[in-house]
Amino acid sequence: MDVIIPVDLWGEDGDAVIATWLFQSGELVSPGAVLAEVMYEKASMEVTSPGAGRLTILVEAESPVRQGQLIGRIET
């Protein structure tokens, strides 16, 4: 399963930044768990887990991200 920044998370067409990952690569995560916080124009938004499994982080914290971008994978 792909962990993707939702395409409508902040609406406008601009870069945000991953403020922090709440889990590390290799950890098991639950469906709906908040995996990361994303900051856009000083507002904080959450990226949740699409399913259960083991997380692999593809884009590290403090990196710029766009809506729709793949930032991690979950292996069941």
């Binding site: 098991l28 709906g32 259960a52 499994g53 914290a61």
Partner: protein, 349 residues
């Protein structure tokens, strides 16, 4: 355990929060439970706090209870003391502890003394939450800790979490307290991204109400050879050092103070009675500080020291702006390893 976690046995039963979110959650739960709880401060409304301490509260509770104030700490912290005397339970944010100068009379002459001077007839149930710490090049007026400046004053309780679980529990204890509590939070642990975040500060936080008692330290790593005492960020530096030391055969016990005032002298005494070696790691200025108080308290007990206690602190100069100057002055895991190895010289080949 949450219902989701129970149903999904293979997945981690965790609900992780940053300290910022944990503080916001504690304040929100208290505001739900008690209409007397209100929040005041600069940018704590629509922005949710520069350090994320009031996220989502304006939307839930409205501008009458979540009040953005003008940039006058003198006015709004004074107002909080008055609100508390009149029966409200204000939580007020001093954005950077460095800004205390213009509001200290309200804090130490009014809030801290209210209960004493009124013979206990008027209490002061206010929480002053404030950011501390440097390490990100914000210079000497936005990077200080000043733990001891506040902890020195009778009538003030001072707490600081090293992780999100303690942040929520300490905040709920602080709000419930009948007297003023200074709730310090370290910028490097806050989870705001632009300051970096120590991963160890992000932990499982239950969604319901619970408290962490004020005045109780936590032993976050047991060990027999040396006691490392830290608070906030320096707990994580001590834990990192302990991992390195373990590979050299030195087992460090790490104590997280959690409360600066009152200080948990019993926990420190119990640990040094076992290890007979002590290092205090404190990112505040060196002299007259928390490190000095912890060491003095330990030395007042009857300890047969194997080495003289030591402290790792910021030196007695204003915190520099340049990273090339600032970083070498702050405590680090490497400094803790070096000092611990020196104190445990009889254990190391």
């Amino acid at each position: 355990m949450t219902a989701t976690a129970t149903a999904t046995a293979t997945a981690a039963p965790t609900r992780r929060l940053t300290i910022a979110k944990a503080m916001s959650e504690a304040i929100g739960l208290s505001m739900d439970a008690d209409p007397k709880v209100i929040v005041l401060g600069e940018d704590i409304g629509a922005l949710g706090g520069v350090f994320g301490t009031t996220q989502g509260l304006l939307e839930r509770f409205g501008a009458a209870r979540v009040r953005d104030t003008p940039i006058s700490e003198t006015a709004f912290i004074g107002a909080a003391v008055g609100l508390a005397a009149a029966g409200m339970r204000p939580i007020v944010e001093l954005m950077f502890v460095d800004f205390f100068g213009v509001c200290m009379d309200a804090i130490y002459n009014l809030a801290a003394k209210q209960s004493y001077f009124s013979g206990g007839h008027v209490c002061c149930p206010m929480v002053l939450m404030t950011s501390v710490g440097g390490g990100y090049g914000d210079a000497g007026q936005h990077s200080q800790c000043l733990y001891a400046t506040f902890a020195h004053l009778p009538g003030l309780k001072v707490v600081m979490p090293s992780n999100a679980y303690d942040a929520k529990g300490l905040m709920l204890s602080a709000i419930a307290d009948a007297n003023p509590v200074v709730f310090m939070f370290h910028k490097a642990l806050q989870g705001m991204g632009w300051l970096g975040t120590v991963p160890g500060s992000i932990v499982h936080v239950p969604s319901e109400m619970y408290t962490v008692p004020i005045g109780r330290a936590a032993t976050v790593r047991p060990g027999r050879d040396i006691t490392l005492v830290g608070l906030g960020l320096t707990v994580h530096l001590a834990l990192q050092a302990a991992t390195t030391l373990a590979a050299q055969g030195i087992e460090a016990e790490v104590i997280d103070l959690r409360s600066i005032a009152p200080l948990d002298r019993e926990a420190i005494a119990a640990s040094v009675a076992k290890t007979r070696r002590l290092i205090v790691v404190d990112d505040d200025y060196r002299s007259f500080g928390v490190s000095a108080e912890v060491i003095a308290g330990a030395c007042e007990g009857d300890v047969d020291w194997l080495s003289a206690p030591a402290r790792i602190t910021h030196p007695d100069v204003p915190i520099p702006y340049s990273p090339a100057l600032e970083h070498p002055l702050l405590p680090s895991a490497a400094k803790i390893v070096e000092a611990s190895t020196r104190l445990c010289h009889d254990k190391v080949e």
